[in-house]
Symmetry: C3
């Protein structure tokens, strides 16, 4: 049983490293935009990095719980693979959110392949109609 769990443990530790990376980004953003603790708000660029990290940290225990529950009771291999996809999605989410609030939507991997087509459609749409406040 322990051998099956190695993959889950590796994905968990990778998740921990990812969280550490996000935390470092917040520290860099604090320095860059001169937002010293305990303050948590500053220019929009800092706010986005801060919120991206906070959101990822909030979902980390949920991720770990689902990863291990599904890994132990269903399939360790499939859970590990899904866990890796989730971590990759979170990374894209963090990078996207850091650049713009709309970039949060980049978490989906499926959307990744369709993104260009959607962007073109969206640009056409904005040219032909006025967007109401979503």
């Amino acid at each position: 049983m322990m051998d099956d769990m190695v993959g889950l443990a590796a994905v968990s530790l990778l998740g921990v490293l990812e969280q550490a990376y996000f935390s470092l980004q917040v520290i860099y953003a604090r320095r860059k935009f001169s937002v010293s603790p305990p303050r948590t708000s500053g220019p929009p660029e800092f706010d986005r990095v801060f919120r991206a990290q906070a959101n990822c940290a909030e979902y980390f225990p949920i991720f770990i719980t689902v990863l291990w529950t599904s890994g132990v009771f269903f399939s360790p291999g499939l859970s590990s693979v899904c866990g890796l996809l989730y971590l990759y999605g979170r990374f894209r989410y963090f990078c996207g959110y850091s650049q713009s609030a709309q970039g949060r939507g980049n978490m989906s991997i499926i959307r990744d392949t369709r993104q260009n087509r959607l962007n073109i459609r969206f640009l056409r749409h904005t040219h032909t109609s006025n967007l109401s406040n979503i």
Copy 2:
């Protein structure tokens, strides 16, 4: 041993679903009160929903840790039942807090049965005396 743990796993996943429900309520509140990310403050109605979700998310890893530690080392059955009661309490807390800051106190189930009596007493008290700022 695995059979005993099914209850704990089920309660854990129920907890995850509950957190997902709370997160959805924040998304709905963001739309309703037009508070777009990365902003985290808005009208008091939004602030209450946001803080209720944040508080529940903060206690989720503690809940999972206590649930599994007590489940594995003491009694899985009793832990599962206590876990269910906790999740029910959190649901009441979230609903209460969303409506008013005083509604947070609704987490206790025992208080539930005494609530009407207390409300009556409280109303009498406010009629007969001036409340100092608590």
Copy 3:
């Protein structure tokens, strides 16, 4: 295997108790500085206590994940000892941050023994040169 895990479970529960202590400190700070929920900002003294608790809560799931992963796959004893050191470090961090934003740096135990020497050097430095805004 279960016997080896008792230490990890004990450290986990100690971590839960520590988080409970931090949460109580926030409640006391809310009363002391009259910052009623859902507000999360007030005088700097309150902000520091609030942020110290939020930071510790954010790292709690990471701590639990690393504790158990290293405990199960490497050494339960060494993990428990490192976990205890982490919890002590967090306690010092919380106490230091509550007093001043610079006090956050107190988490390190190694720095502990060097603190006095560093303080003296720092005082000398501030006497002999003008500090630029760090």
